[in-house]
Symmetry: D2
Subunit: 342 residues, 4 copies
């Protein structure tokens, strides 16, 4: 299958991450876009909703239909959390491979959904077969997965920097604090007075402190990769930028450590990773990763307090959503992992 095209459908194609996905797929050698489903924009041409795509995409959003979706090899679901669980069962039953951008299949523990997503899971029986699509730690499982739960933007930015530290025994699993700053596109495309330019511009606020739905996802992902149970303290903030997540992590050193040892930990796990960049000297900045699929990781020891500060930056719409989804697709279909992403 390596040199042929695969047929792709996108459900929820008119949101920001759906549009970003489309942008990436246009540069992908093996992608044939079959159907773009978007109920709210059904009947509208893509270049009417996003004039950005004029002359690039000659297509019209359609209302979702199972049969139409099943003409594809793979279905991306870019719906708000809570909606994928209603269509994934029927798509799986028809043998489709699925990559879901939302949170519906990320948590294995069904009881976490009422608590963090404020709804019961209607397809809890499928949670066990979903593969969490973090390629750096789940590559083999992703390759053969039927249903990939694409990671959240915050969890991607937080778990990739933390996992090597715990695996190498450099930092304590207890007492990890994470301060994350997100651009506004992460909140999706909808009318909301709170997200109007005038409300967001020239300001900053923390939100959903202690109750954000990405908390259990971060804990589960770190736990899976390291075998260590963690309960991170996570505080997200909304920033007046369009794209990008910046994450600052405070971890307690297990014992006296040098910056060389920290660098060695990242080297051990990530030196061959195509989309992880880390440096012993350069502090990450959002502008260095925006419009790319990279995560940049930097760090500083804070020896007087026995602390290690780790900093990361990603583009929330690329490595935090559509780019990582394509990376997963590449793995699932045996393409070069970086195809469409450089």
């Amino acid at each position: 299958m390596l040199s042929q095209s695969i047929k792709i459908s996108v459900v929820g194609a008119s949101g920001y991450s759906g549009a970003e996905l489309l942008k990436i797929l246009l540069r992908h050698k093996h992608a044939h876009i079959e159907k773009l489903f978007a109920n709210s924009s059904a009947g509208k041409r893509v270049d009417t909703v996003y004039p950005y795509f004029t002359k690039r995409v000659d297509a019209t959003y359609e209302p979702y239909s199972l049969d139409a979706a099943c003409t594809s090899d793979v279905v991306f679901i870019a719906l708000p959390s809570g909606e994928a669980m209603n269509i994934v069962p029927e798509l799986l039953a028809r043998g489709k491979r699925i990559i879901d951008f939302g949170g519906d299949f990320r948590l294995r523990d069904a009881s976490a959904y009422p608590k963090f997503y404020k709804r019961e899971h209607t397809s809890a029986n499928l949670l066990s077969q979903a593969v969490y699509g973090l390629p750096e730690w789940n590559r083999e499982k992703i390759e053969s997965a039927k249903l990939v739960a694409n990671p959240g933007c915050y969890p991607t930015s937080a778990t990739l920097p933390i996992i090597p530290l715990l695996k190498e025994g450099l930092t304590e699993s207890k007492g990890i604090a994470i301060s994350s700053l997100s651009g506004v596109s992460g909140a999706g495309r909808s009318a909301s007075a709170d997200l109007s330019f005038t409300e967001v511009n020239e300001s900053v606020k923390a939100y959903k402190v202690g109750v954000h739905q990405h908390i259990p996802e971060i804990n589960q992902t770190i736990g899976d990769a390291t075998g260590q149970q963690v309960s991170v303290t996570f505080v997200p903030h909304l920033l007046p930028i369009t794209r990008g997540i910046y994450t600052s992590i405070y971890a307690t050193l297990k014992h006296t450590t040098t910056e060389e040892e920290v660098f060695a930990a990242y080297t051990k796990f990530y030196t061959k990773e195509p989309f992880v960049r880390f440096s012993p000297t350069t502090i990450p900045e959002i502008k260095n990763v925006n419009y790319t699929n990279y995560i940049d990781i930097g760090f500083r020891l804070y020896p007087e307090n026995n602390q290690l500060i780790v900093l990361s930056a990603i583009d929330n719409l690329v490595k935090g959503a559509a780019g990582q989804a394509v990376q997963n697709m590449n793995l699932m279909f045996g393409f070069d992992e970086t195809e469409g992403l450089l």
Copy 2:
């Protein structure tokens, strides 16, 4: 009345210009805020809707009622255009003095409302008694007015620079082109996908080209002040800034003119104006006027094309709305014209 307080009510107090008005009145020596009406926020404390006012304003928004409004000496109406016309008649009948922020009483020609505001005027009989609240050109009438139509933000930024040129015969009345750039707060406080941070940030667009409701207002105001009939070409643009309007005016010189003559024209009319600043050398910038009631005016001759370029900057919420409204109130009640505004 000069040294006493007057009682003030605001209808539509929870929008951006209502909030800006409140901010200005807090610094005004003679202002006693009696009632804050806001139907959508009725029952909410002001500092809940705007935490900015915590510890400053101990008040609750109320639903509008005529009797409650009539306990005041002056009623500011900061409603969307089309709503003031429904309550102005009853307030006038009760002898209240009114300053209306919207467009309902700015145009004398009732037939312009269906065309530009997309609705019939329901109180057209009152249009003739409304005074257009541009203090620099209507000061005396404002002093004795019962009903002041506070000017629009774009018209304020455009008419003040143009009028002296026409009065002094420096430029033609024909062929004036106006390119205006506005911050997003001018669009008011509401949920709109088009005004979300992600849609507006890092972009610019023109809008309502040739159909903006401020076109007839600009033409009428210039006509009133100069006796010359004009039909300006006006193009508004939306910018990713919160506050401020920048207006660039292209006018044709009547004859060879020097920059000294242009400066003399502004000097003649504006040298004693407390809120008009003009300079033969400094080009206006929005940052120099934001959070002030000033309009800054600059200009450059473009002699090879027989053109004069005039540039102006105002804060759309202050000189373009609440500040000018307070300037009008000061005139109406015999206070120092700058009270609360420096």
Copy 3:
């Protein structure tokens, strides 16, 4: 002296905090601005450097001279850190009262200067008589001080929220992590490629991790107020906004605590403070404090991790610099503490 004017000079008057000071003093009943010293802008009119002040300030920057400064009752020094130490001795010798915006007299331990400010202190003998100008915790000393060291912007945003928690025994003194986000005006007014719009916009970066000069200031201030020795972990970040600091604090609870108890701690110490606002429900946002002298404090328990998250917001140029300096001046001269600041 309460109802008379005092004569004021500003050294370093052409920087951002000098300009903000001027803006505040224009609204201050008892302020007579005597001299504005600015070596780099000497000979230029204030309204040439800052057209914002056109029609408001009719003055020219002068080169600093001791004799000229000594015609004033109080001298504000708004120079970059490292320069005040050269002129404070002569001013004190002439009996002038001084408020220094920079870091030169904030740390009592002279050995901290080479480490954090990269220079020896040339007037270390005066460190012991400087009073740290945090009114909420040093009001009495400030009233009689000759030399006030105005606090840094980050320390103001961090120490005010932390001190009550430690004094009430709610949180551990060990393991406090502080993530602070600053607008760009905090970096001062100068030509720097790193601070150009294109470099800063749509990005975020951490900087000076573990080596920022405000670290010892935060530790000293908390120590002085609480008697508890602390060593905070502090990470500052640069944001694409002009003004404002947002600080997120992670502290470990000493024992099970309710949000009511946290609220009670702030109430105990700050309920009468004119510029401290705190709430058990509202999360601070920069837009609520910008252009004001307030600090807003909010908090959330994170009980599963035994953590308390505290959030604060200030305007770095007002409560973080010029506003707090005027608050100090008001205390030193017996004026109403809020004069010029509301």
Copy 4:
């Protein structure tokens, strides 16, 4: 040559447009980057100056040398205006093909350089052989050119919309007014207090009114394409966005015209152009073209004033600089014109 790689050098490779060029060339099938010259950054790795390129570009900036440059097939010059004229003669003498981003070879009239660029031209003899690199109007000449003068960003945004109107006789050649708004990256990468974030953010200003060096370029380009002599009135403004140019054009109709006729004019000339998009309904917005090589053109009749308003948007670093340069390279070397640009 169609399927092979060409060797490329870039002089001035460390500026913003040099970096953007590098980004585009990384996606170009036939581009082999040979040398990156940058005197100020010589000796530094590309990914040190631009961490964005980490893992993508393994190269070091070198000081310019003629011999080193001559190992390439084509030399891009991305130096500030005034510097290319010193090296172009020697490169041409060695038979190299050159694409110059700056203004040095755009104007045929040598006497315009002292007036608009404030310097004498030192290689005026070469002006006649330079080809102005606007592919839509000079495609054939570009294909065989030795020296291509890549158009300025403002002229690209203004001439492409205007030329068809004049060629079709829809608008007068006299009295064209152009209001252009530019992002800050257009000013290049350098330390300047005027371009610092704090100075630019939340503001707008016009600049170089009537004296901007792009005025003669706009006039010459329109004249060349239409045979009509024009003298446009051009006012550039600086906006707080990183990328993008928005241009609003005011033209006088020759006779009553319909929007269909305007659309037909654009269709006639641009329907086959790969990078020109135009619409009878959609108003351009910068966000639709940023990070692309497209120009978007929209328009509205303003019949009461006999005016046509035309609006355009480009990315100043792509269609306004590096993208158009690659489009020119594609033409010069017989590649698909869109290679690397979609």
